[in-house]
């Protein structure tokens, strides 16, 4: 085609410029990959130097501790059922922390997201303010809030719950406001025309459209929050993480308890993951119909 319309010489020029572009692109990708590899290798070396034990010293010891734990748990396998039963209340506390934090966080995130979506906001002037509130609560790692609250409120599940709920509010608020932006505003207009208040418009005009997506994101967050709640327990906020740290602190002799807790935690996470993913599938298929 080009040959016919432009003649031989322009074709060669086009080919040259195309090849030059290809070469340039290859050069850029090559440089990008080189920079990436250099970053990765030097990063690994820095991390290795600053670690207490080096990677190559530790790599052959990696299974020593799991072997100790499994070995001890196997020796005392008769007591395992009893230990699982003993730590069940702590597991329930961890789950409760995650569940309440997800509920409260989702409620707060919902309000924040509605207040920061154009077309739905109660006070459109304050949209940037509510967005920044979500940014900051999302950026705060749970552990920061939890440690400060443990100092002020004492140990126990409440500091962990508040910390996770705050982070959840920010994270879910952002996802929810993306959902809101795709919602149809016609029902809201209709409700406005009959003189509905803001909360009525949101409850009757927006909620039915977005509820399946909200629920699906909330379930996903619940999975994440179970892990967070276990970690916060480890720094002193009660629940199964706290018991795990205690049993680890005892050292050999109590590893059967650590094994029981590992088992409970692993089982719960896998079970909740499966349950929530099948629920989410049903929700998204229901939304499509």
């Amino acid at each position: 085609m080009t040959d016919m319309t432009q003649g031989g010489a322009p074709l060669a020029a086009t080919q040259d410029s195309y090849m030059a572009m290809v070469r340039q692109k290859r050069l850029y990708s090559g440089i990008a990959i080189l920079v990436f590899v250099v970053l990765l290798v030097s990063g690994f070396r820095v991390a290795n130097d600053r670690n207490a034990g080096g990677f190559f010293d530790g790599i052959h010891r990696i299974f020593d501790f799991p072997a100790d734990v499994v070995g001890e748990a196997w020796e005392k396998r008769a007591d395992m059922a009893g230990l699982l039963w003993k730590y069940l209340p702590d597991l329930i506390e961890t789950l409760n922390i995650a569940a309440v934090a997800t509920l409260l966080g989702a409620a707060l995130g919902l309000v924040l997201s509605l207040l920061s979506t154009r077309g739905m906001a109660r006070w459109p002037v304050l949209i940037p303010l509510f967005r920044r509130i979500m940014d900051v609560t999302r950026a705060l790692p749970e552990i920061v809030v939890a440690l400060v609250l443990i100092y002020m409120l004492g140990g126990g599940p409440i500091p962990a719950m508040i910390a996770i709920a705050l982070h959840t509010a920010g994270a879910l608020g952002k996802l929810y406001s993306e959902v809101n932006e795709n919602a149809d505003l016609k029902p809201v207009d209709g409700l406005t025309s009959v003189g509905a208040t803001w909360s009525q418009k949101m409850l009757l005009g927006v909620m039915p459209q977005v509820a399946p997506n909200y629920l699906s994101y909330g379930l996903l967050r619940f999975e994440i929050n179970i892990r967070a709640s276990a970690i916060l327990g480890f720094v002193g906020a009660g629940g199964i993480g706290y018991e795990l740290r205690n049993s680890m602190a005892w050292g050999p002799g109590r590893f059967d308890e650590a094994a029981a807790i590992f088992l409970l935690l692993f089982g719960t996470i896998v079970a909740v993951d499966q349950l929530s993913s099948s629920l989410r599938n049903r929700l998204s298929e229901g939304a499509k119909q």
Partner: protein
């Protein structure tokens, strides 16, 4: 006719039943949630919170975040007076110097506090607290602490026993024990954030530092000021910067390592690339397993082998995210368009070339956006893992909280962490837009 009306009533009944069911759900769901919250209210002992909460701790924390105190300490054994911000050694005034609100005249020391309050240290271990409304409180340390107050009843802001006197007022605080008599005065701000008192640059305006005459004979102003700022013995700016770098490093190594491990494994877990069911199921179960074990457990296990530090944290992130990324990648691979692969193979491409030119360009945008998203969220995880395994800004934060006195440092770290996460969020968003736009063309 009758048939149609019958079906009409049928439909009406069905609609009514549906309405009833919906109404029931609309009432039952909030009721169940309320019941659950009521149970939590009891289970978490929310009523007991008032008893457990330490309001004084909260007050100290809030006060410390925006103000600092300067200690004027009289050693009751040697008679020496030292003045130090927050009582820390690097923030001590040099011998013979004092701020303008402290006047030292032999053994008599006058300390002015705001709102007309003042404290006088007299010879013979005597201190006088002058309160403009209440009057003068004279305390003397003999074999025990004795006090002389203008009223008979002790006001609630004085706590007194034979071994200890503690006067706390809004402008300041005086404590007297056998070892020392100490006055605190509160000031707004973070103390000595830029330079400590022993640095020649302390108290110099920015203008002088940049363009003024050379202050220190050995170093140029800007270099010297940077050195003293970076090595500030109270705030450790250099150490904090390292810690933040370590946290970001953990997130970077963990995420990129996980992506590199997960990509080849994802081919084995994708239905259209691995027809062998056993292999596919095996790889998928491995993904589920490492995802389920969770970063907490990996951190504990790995720190036994590698000791605390950033490498342990990076490996824990790597292992957990191999599962998550592997699952996402294999889903992306199952959605690739076969036509491009057929096109590439029609030119006689070998399997590796088919993957390189037929598959990778299709999934690159999805992979990159997932990896960058994980990088951002792992910055937060790395802070948390650092607090458990001992590395990065997470460790500094937990240490500062455990000492329970450097709350201004805690708030400094919190601000830095929030900025770091927001920065990584911004970088990842920027790269995502750049690379994916570039990849799409």
């Amino acid at each position: 006719m009758t048939d149609a009306s019958l079906s009409m009533t049928d439909r009406q009944d069905a609609a009514q039943a549906l309405f009833r069911r919906k109404r029931l759900v609309a009432l039952a769901v909030p009721a169940v949630i309320l019941l659950y919250l009521a149970y939590i209210f009891v289970a978490f002992d929310v009523m007991g919170l008032a008893g457990r909460a330490r309001l004084d701790n909260a007050m100290t924390l809030i006060r410390d975040t925006y103000s600092y105190k300067t200690h004027v300490t009289l050693n009751n054994r040697t008679g020496d007076v030292t003045i130090a911000k927050e009582g820390e050694r690097p923030a001590t005034w040099p011998e013979g110097q004092s701020p303008d609100w402290v006047a030292i005249d032999g053994e008599t020391v006058t300390i002015d506090l705001p709102r007309g309050h003042s404290v006088l240290f007299l010879p013979d271990r005597t201190a006088v607290y002058h309160h403009p409304e209440f009057g003068d409180i004279t305390a003397k340390l003999g074999p025990a602490v004795t006090i002389d107050i203008p009223e008979d009843e002790l006001p609630e802001w004085i706590s007194y026993s034979r071994t200890r006197l503690d006067i706390r007022t809004e402008p300041g605080r005086l404590t007297m024990t056998r070892a020392k008599t100490e006055v605190f005065r509160y000031f707004f701000g973070w103390e000595l954030f830029w330079f400590t008192l022993d640095s020649p640059y302390h108290g110099q305006p920015v203008w002088t530092l940049l363009f003024g005459p050379q202050i220190d004979a050995d170093r140029s102003n800007i270099a010297g000021a940077w050195q003293d700022f970076w090595a500030n013995p109270l705030w450790h700016h250099g150490k904090v910067a390292w810690a933040i770098g370590e946290t970001i490093l953990m997130a970077f190594l963990g995420t990129m390592g996980a992506a590199l491990v997960a990509l080849p494994l994802a081919f084995l877990a994708a239905r259209n690339f691995t027809p062998v069911v056993v292999v596919r199921q095996l790889v998928r179960r491995v993904f589920d397993f490492v995802r389920g074990v969770d970063a907490l457990i990996f951190t504990i296990l790995l720190s036994r082998a590698f000791g605390p530090g950033p490498l342990t944290g990076a490996l824990a992130i790597l292992l957990t995210d191999t599962g998550s990324l592997g699952k996402l990648f294999s889903e992306a691979l199952e959605n690739v368009d076969q036509k491009q692969i057929e096109g590439v193979s029609s030119t006689g491409a070998k399997p590796l070339q088919r993957y390189r030119f037929g598959v990778i360009p299709q999934i690159t945008p999805v992979l990159l956006s997932q990896v960058l998203y994980f990088l951002e969220s792992n910055t937060r995880s790395a802070t948390i893992i650092g607090a458990i395994t001992g590395g990065g800004i997470g460790l500094l934060l937990t240490q500062a909280i455990i000492t329970q006195k450097d709350w201004e440092e805690v708030s400094y770290y919190i601000v830095l962490i929030v900025l770091m996460v927001i920065f990584m969020d911004w970088v990842s968003g920027l790269l995502r837009r750049r690379l994916i736009k570039g990849g799409g063309h």
